[in-house]
């Protein structure tokens, strides 16, 4: 080509930085972030334990969780009944091992639905802008002003307490929230020039959303997913506690706390065990979510002025 470039050739080509171990340059993956972080590790271990209990506990119950009178009523822990019995003579330990179903499954399904539905609407709105975005975000805003527990209570009052109602209502509560988060995340991405470059190449909306946008919002989306599961667990447990979700004689943890509240001073374990179960499950997800939020989406490292 031209002669001026010959001068440049004389010098060495620009040296590449070697890839260091703690390199921030390579795009991070969610899994590696969780694993590489103490908070994430504890969350994973705790979550695995709880999952184990919830999924497989039912194979190790010494008694049937719903059978009445397997032991004396309202008695503390002993060798026959590791966590004692409740006021109907049921073994608390067996009930504990089988009580986590609703609190795990309903949130998982509901949040996934919320992401599929609300997430795609949010992404679409942020990308399309204009009238479509106005409609979508106004709808979100309107739904957001409705107090969730109130809304769910009212719907349950009318439609009853079946699992389907529960899942759909919880999903409905989360759709606008997830939608807003993903809309915000997409908005941050969509203003980048590489999206404009793809548009200038004449690529179609679906292709741009999938190739250019999605990989870049994966990080905040996954972090938000873990966070929503935490909230959903809290929400469903609360509904069960209020007697508006799972119904007796289901050995649900929320129900157990409500039922055994009255003899708290005599046999605290009937309340403590399920409460601890709920707490542990929810904490594990929250730890994972926090590890992801703070490290994957990389907290603004801009330093605080030394006032």
């Amino acid at each position: 080509m031209s002669s001026t470039l010959a001068d440049v050739d004389v010098l060495e080509p620009e040296p590449l930085r070697p890839i260091e171990d703690d390199d921030e340059a390579r795009p991070a993956s969610a899994w590696r972030t969780i694993i590489g972080n103490v908070e994430g590790q504890i969350g994973l271990v705790l979550g695995a334990i709880m999952l184990g209990i919830i999924l497989f506990g039912r194979f190790f119950t010494p008694y049937s969780p719903t059978e009445l009178g397997v032991g004396p009523q309202t008695v503390g822990p002993s060798t026959e009944h590791l966590l004692g019995t409740d006021n109907l003579g049921r073994d608390v330990f067996s009930r504990f091992l089988t009580g986590g179903d609703t609190i795990l499954i309903v949130p998982l399904v509901a949040v996934t639905l919320a992401f599929l539905f609300g997430g795609s609407l949010g992404m679409l709105g942020a990308y399309a802008r204009g009238r479509i975005d106005a409609v979508i975000s106004r709808t979100f805003d309107l739904l957001l002003t409705l107090p969730p527990l109130l809304l769910v209570l009212v719907i349950i009052a009318g439609l009853g307490t079946s699992t389907i109602v529960l899942v759909v209502t919880v999903a409905l509560v989360f759709v606008p929230r997830v939608g807003r988060v993903l809309r915000g995340a997409t908005q941050a991405i969509v203003t980048n020039d590489y999206v404009a470059a793809a548009q200038a190449r004449g690529e179609r909306t679906a292709s741009i959303l999938g190739r250019e946008v999605l990989p870049n919002i994966a990080a905040p989306a996954i972090a938000d997913f873990a966070l929503r599961i935490t909230y959903a667990i809290i929400f469903v447990a609360t509904l069960n506690f209020l007697g508006l979700g799972a119904q007796p004689p289901d050995p649900d943890w929320g129900l157990m706390v409500a039922d055994s509240r009255n003899f708290l001073s005599v046999q605290p374990w009937a309340t403590l065990a399920p409460a601890a179960g709920i707490a542990a499950l929810s904490i594990s997800f929250n730890l994972i979510a926090d590890a992801l939020t703070r490290h994957l989406t990389r907290e603004t490292s801009k330093g605080v002025v030394p006032v």
């Binding site: 080509m1 031209s2 390579r26 020039d193 590489y194 250019e212 030394p306």
Partner: protein
């Protein structure tokens, strides 16, 4: 060396470091010494990352988050500022030491009316209250040239223009009559014409108040015109220091010479020379920090630490070959001028109008009836300040912004308003390079993905199996190693990323390349290499180029014809030489006169 008697602020052997996440400390400024004298401006020049801002802030005792002062003294009126505690410094900051930050838009608190921000230091340091305070506030704003100073007091910063905001910031800084003034790139980001006015104001104020000023900037030409003494920083050390005239007209350090040669100048048509390589990220102590990029390099340069020596006439240089190196600027060769073989226009822009905002909330016209042509192989420049509509016009041509009226034709074919509606062949011929290399490459795609995409979309002659080779060839054409293909953008420097963007643009083998301020986000030395690259590739592939820039000198370097835009309209359209030697429109003349004096010898 001292010009006006005793220095007001004397900095000796200042060393500053940053704490790394792993606990070790990186030195970013090494044993730097400066003197500030009353009524004079001392310039501190350098590219981004050289440590000039950190140095400046450290001299007044401010430690940026994460930084530590590792050594040295900074003496103001007998007291070493570096030994003072924060409360002690607080009584000096704002009263005897003043600081003006780069962007007034961010340095002025957006939620507090301007009057109150002005009042606070006056109250804290001078104890002014009530009527006396009010009088002084109005006085200050008036002295800065702000219209309606009374009314201005109750307004918020966002209600002023960029230039006016900076005037307010300067007013606040000088309100308590400081002895030392630190200016940190105060005019960067402002329009050229506003820059010129603020610079004039600053010079006047310094002379009037006699404040000792340190002016930090990357703009060597600007400092050459404004400063009395000038120091050039590279990799955390001062490499050259003397009177401003001496440094800019007869530089003795190879880096200074190279830097001057890299700055596009309106007096030196089509000539610019980049510096290959990258500056080091922290101080280099055991040898010359510039050696690996220096064309005068010798074995002695890399075997021992290089000291700052004084040559005759008080000119200090950090180079062992300073006497040998002729006090002249580096050779620059003019970029090749493409030959226009075919007079029929490749691109025709006819009476295009563009608007921003929806009709309901009040739409503004940003491009008003612009027309121009581009012939095959020629480079046309579009110059204008911010708000002139030049970027919007470019995006309209690219199909990213729908014009509300007018037509755009490529080889006689009318182009649809949005890119997605245009036929593939026409999309292929028109490619775009963006301003910001950080946002134009998808951080989740590898270089291979990025450069191969247009190949896959548009090049039928390249099969999947040949794609990797094609990408490799393109990387070589932009002077990057083939092995770069597996890397992610975050691992590359700004200059490298911009080359990838250029490689991506040429991957489709376009007939027309649209460049939107492609060098504005880069350091001066890197800018030049990019300009050279674009010019060479365009010549090689016979691609026409539309080059948008706010910088007249850059446009002069690459274009053969240019348009000047203001407020959405074309003020003047002419061949480059004519535009610069005999501008017809008053706005063009205003732009030309606002540019700081060229620093290179003719």
């Amino acid at each position: 060396m001292s010009t006006h008697g005793q220095p007001v602020l004397e900095v000796t052997d200042l060393t500053v470091g940053y704490r790394r996440p792993d606990g070790r400390t990186n030195e970013v400024v090494w044993k730097t010494s400066l003197e500030l004298h009353p009524g004079t401006i001392t310039g501190l020049a350098g590219e981004s990352g050289c440590g000039k801002s950190t140095t400046a802030l450290a001299t007044i005792g401010y430690r940026s988050p994460g930084s530590q002062i590792l050594g040295g003294t900074s003496v103001l009126d007998g007291t070493d500022l570096l030994t003072l505690s924060t409360p002690e410094l607080r009584s000096l900051w704002g009263s005897r030491i003043a600081y003006v930050a780069q962007s007034a838009t961010t340095a002025l608190n957006p939620a507090i009316p301007v009057g109150r921000q002005l009042a606070q230091p006056l109250g804290v340091h001078l104890g002014l209250k009530g009527d006396e305070l009010h009088k002084r506030q109005v006085e200050l704003l008036d002295a800065m040239g702000l219209p309606e100073p009374e009314a201005a007091l109750s307004r918020y910063p966002f209600q002023f223009s960029g230039g006016q905001q900076q005037r307010v910031a300067i007013a606040i800084a000088l309100s308590c009559r400081p002895r030392v003034l630190l200016l940190d790139e105060p005019t960067t980001g402002l329009d050229v014409t506003t820059q010129a006015r603020i610079s004039a104001l600053l010079q006047e104020l310094v002379k009037e108040t006699g404040v000792a000023t340190l002016y930090v900037s990357h703009d060597l030409a600007l400092l050459g015109g404004m400063a009395d003494r000038l120091a050039v920083m590279y990799a955390g050390e001062i490499v050259e220091e003397s009177t401003a005239a001496a440094v800019t007209k007869t530089p003795r350090h190879p880096y200074t010479q190279a830097l001057i040669a890299a700055v596009p100048s309106i007096k030196r048509p089509r000539a610019v020379a980049g510096i290959a390589g990258r500056p080091p990220t922290h101080v280099v102590l055991d040898r010359c920090s510039f050696a690996e990029r220096c064309s005068y390099r010798q074995p002695a340069c890399t075997s021992e630490p290089i000291q700052l020596r004084e040559l005759d006439g008080g000119h200090r240089v950090r180079c062992i070959r300073a006497e040998e190196i002729a006090a002249a600027t580096r050779e620059t060769t003019a970029l090749p001028i493409p030959e226009i073989k075919d007079p029929t226009p490749l691109l025709e822009v006819a009476e295009v109008w563009c608007e921003y905002g929806s009709r309901r909330d009040g739409a503004r016209a940003v491009v008003k009836g612009v027309s121009f042509d581009v012939r095959p192989g020629e480079t046309v420049g579009i110059v204008g300040e911010s708000g002139s509509g030049k970027s919007t016009l470019l995006r309209a041509i690219a199909g990213l912004h729908s014009p509300v009226d007018g037509a755009i034709r490529l080889r006689g074919n009318e182009l649809a308003r949005t890119a997605v509606q245009r036929p593939r062949q026409l999309r292929r011929e028109l490619q775009l390079v963006f301003q910001n290399p950080d946002s134009s490459l998808n951080p989740r795609h590898t270089v291979q993905d990025i450069v191969a995409r247009p190949i896959r979309l548009f090049r039928e002659d390249v099969t999947r199996s040949k794609e990797k080779d094609a990408v490799g060839d393109l990387l070589e054409s932009v002077k990057l190693p083939r092995s770069l293909a597996v890397r992610y953008p975050a691992e590359l420097s700004g200059g490298q990323k911009q080359r990838i963007a250029i490689a991506r643009a040429f991957a489709a083998q376009p007939t027309l390349l649209l460049c939107d301020e492609v060098t504005s986000a880069l350091d001066v030395s890197v800018q030049a290499t990019i300009l050279e690259l674009i010019a060479d590739l365009a010549l090689c592939f016979e691609t026409a180029v539309v080059f948008v820039s706010h910088d007249l000198a850059v446009v002069r370097t690459v274009a053969t014809r240019a348009l000047v835009m203001k407020d959405g309209e074309v003020c003047e359209q002419a061949d480059i030489e004519q535009l610069f030697s005999a501008p017809a429109h008053p706005y063009t003349r205003e732009l030309l006169s606002a540019i700081p004096e060229s620093i290179a010898a003719a």
